[in-house]
Amino acid sequence: MALVGGAVLGAAGHWAVLSRSCGKAVAAPLFGAAAYSSVPAVSNRDGQQREASTRRRGRTPQFVRQHLPPRTEKMAVDQDWTSVYPTAAVFKPASVPLPVRMGYPVKRGVPPPKEGNLELMKIPNFLHLTPPAIKKHCAALKDFCTEWPSALDSDEKCEQHFPIEIETVDYVSSGTSIRNPKARVVTLRVKLSNLNLDDHAKKKLIKLVGERYCKDTDILTITTDRCPLRRQNYDYGIHLLTVLYHESWKTEMWEGEKTEEDMEEYIWENSRSQKNALDTLLRIKASENVSDVTKEELLASEVVKDYRNSVIALKNEGETEKNMSLYKESVKKLLNMQVLP
């Protein structure tokens, strides 16, 4: 308002106008708590004079509004919370009867209380989604739902009949458009034990999908969102699953070049460990002048089997106390070390 005029005036006049406008804005809070109540219609000069006369520490405001006690004091313990917060709303400290504190505490202090707490107001809250509220939502939605099939009364049966789980999300928001681009995402989940895969096919499939497979739960998760419509994404997901399944059953020529580094788990046959063990045993036998022992016999003997199991456990499961002691015992037996107790 006056700023435009200020631009026209000279420098000194500019500053005068600005200060007057600032003074008007600043004067109101100087009246303290009464700032947001009905501002007395005093002129600017008058207000400044009054402000000047009452300039003392802890200035008592002219108009003190009596605060009503907050609503929380009148709330019963068994009230209907869904009527307090029926929809998503800002955190209102006077409506939430919880002694919540949030924020960074001052030195040797506590986090600030909930009254006027900006941190609590900023964050999203789920006070409108308490279990009774969800129950009411479900009761309201029940009219639009069909019955759950009675034959599927356990998780195992669901998994047995419907091994593939499709997950889609619908979004509702208050606005002019019902479209939401996030609604086209489709997630497919399937357990590999439900698919008909042999050892080679399973390893190949896991290598093909990479990150999408979880070893602990044996679930393959495919998320598709490259098509514009949900139906198209669903079709694409099913197509991917089909292709993966069929491809993993095929064996290409170059798969024969799989080296030891590509192996997922340690295989003892044809490994360096087997070679070492056989060499050692042959040398032991040679030193004892027992020369007609064949490799197959050695491999089939108890000590070598024991040794093999312990090395496999060590390499696949990692080194634990138990594994190391098993390995130690098996090596002692292999090398025929008789130790007197």
């Binding site: 460990s273 060499d279 080194e319 190391m324 070390m337 007197l340």
Partner: protein
């Protein structure tokens, strides 16, 4: 409370590891402190043992300290003792080593080895500062006393890092020589095994360059002299020594102990670079190559005891201590099958021993260190880890 003690009680002499007559009893040394107050002379504490020959160490000596005479120390351990232990020897004027279970276990294995069978490899592993190198030294002392030929490599990590001079090997163009490391190792090897070197004869003729050569049938000491005199040939001299010992240990009248500390250096990475700044792989170093061959189990008539060490290891995280982590796949496959020997922290009895030793040598000067509460605090702070206890006791 007076106890009846068998044997004499003498004042401990702060002499060079003088073995005293002592009562070797299995009592908790807290009773001993009471004894100290009652008896007028201070007895040699229960945690010492006068059994100075490791061959006779047995279960009842577990947790006790035995001392090595200082002149023997020079011949048996020209290199190989940890630096802090060397400082402790200088301070206390005696070398006291604790007898612990892993060492005793190894002694039983070594006593029962069948020397006709291929050499068994033992790998001592454990967390940092639990006493692996000291166990190895205990073993080396035992074998030296028994008359074995000890091939002690104090720290294989020294061969794969901080090497100023790298020469191209004359024997094999691909490999690189390390004259300084090889010559220092040869010098120490000579001091520890003088008499063997005179007895063992070479079986082949070796040419050093165009002019020098060593005939077959000459004592091995000549090869060592050649390596020390001509530093250029030192690495090859080491290779020759190792090869000869390997071949002859089967038939020869001596037993061979290969003791390598920090064996994971042989299969790790090096920090050395060639002149064109490309990194050097460990197998390109002559010393490492020859030592790897030594650690194969295609020879007999002895044993190979190795230690894994993370301190000094290159490119390995500080929490790694298990064999597979430190050796890597290549090292594990090369040493397989080996007997792993774990070395744990101090047991309560061993901790007690060590604490009493420090007290008795007046190493712990703090007035609170003598109390029960002080002992518990030390135990807690060090976590019964030998190295931590040593470091903590220093400033006290």
């Amino acid at each position: 409370m007076l106890r009846s003690l068998k044997g004499l009680l003498c004042r401990p002499l702060k002499d060079r590891g003088f073995a005293l007559h002592t009562a070797a009893k299995d009592r908790v040394s807290s009773l001993l402190t009471q004894d100290v107050q009652t008896a007028p002379e201070r007895p040699r504490a229960v945690f010492y043992t006068n059994e100075n020959d490791p061959a006779n160490h047995a279960e009842q000596h577990e947790g006790r300290l035995y001392s090595i005479p200082l002149d023997e120390l020079k011949t048996v351990f020209p290199h190989g003792l940890p630096y802090r232990f060397q400082q402790q020897i200088k301070t206390f004027n005696e070398a006291c080593v604790m007898v612990r279970k892993p060492a005793l276990e190894l002694f039983t294995y070594l006593r029962n080895t069948n020397f006709a069978h291929p050499a068994v490899r033992y790998v001592i592993y454990g967390e940092r500062g639990t006493g692996k190198t000291m166990t190895l030294c205990h073993l080396v002392h035992y074998c030296a006393r028994q008359g074995w030929l000890v091939l002690h490599v104090p720290d294989a990590h020294l061969w794969v890092k901080n090497c100023r001079e790298l020469l191209q090997s004359s024997y094999n163009k691909e490999r690189l020589d390390q004259p300084l490391q090889a010559s220092s190792w040869l010098k120490n090897f000579k001091t520890s095994n003088e008499r063997f070197l005179k007895e063992i004869k070479t079986q082949k003729q070796y040419m050093w360059g165009r002019r020098d050569r060593t005939e077959a049938g000459r004592p091995l000491a000549e090869v060592v002299e050649q390596g020390l005199a001509r530093v250029r040939n030192a690495s090859d001299a080491v290779g020759v020594v190792l090869k000869e010992l390997k071949q002859q240990s089967r038939l020869g009248p001596f037993r061979l102990l290969v003791a390598v500390d920090g064996v994971n250096a042989l299969w790790g990475r090096t920090t050395l670079k060639k002149e064109d700044k490309s990194p050097v792989a460990p197998e390109e170093l002559t010393l490492v190559h020859n030592l790897r061959k030594m650690l194969m189990n295609d020879w007999s008539g002895g044993a190979a005891v190795t230690t894994l060490s993370q301190t000094g290891a290159l490119f390995k995280p500080s929490s790694a201590y298990l064999p597979q982590e430190l050796l890597g796949k290549e090292g594990f496959d090369a040493l397989d099958p080996f007997v792993p020997i774990p070395v744990p922290n101090y047991s309560p009895r061993e901790f007690e021993s060590c604490y009493q030793y420090y007290l008795q040598r007046k190493w712990l000067q703090h007035e609170k260190a003598h109390t029960e509460a002080g002992k518990e605090e030390l135990r807690f702070l060090s976590g019964s880890n030998p190295r931590q206890l040593d470091r903590l006791a220093g400033p006290l």
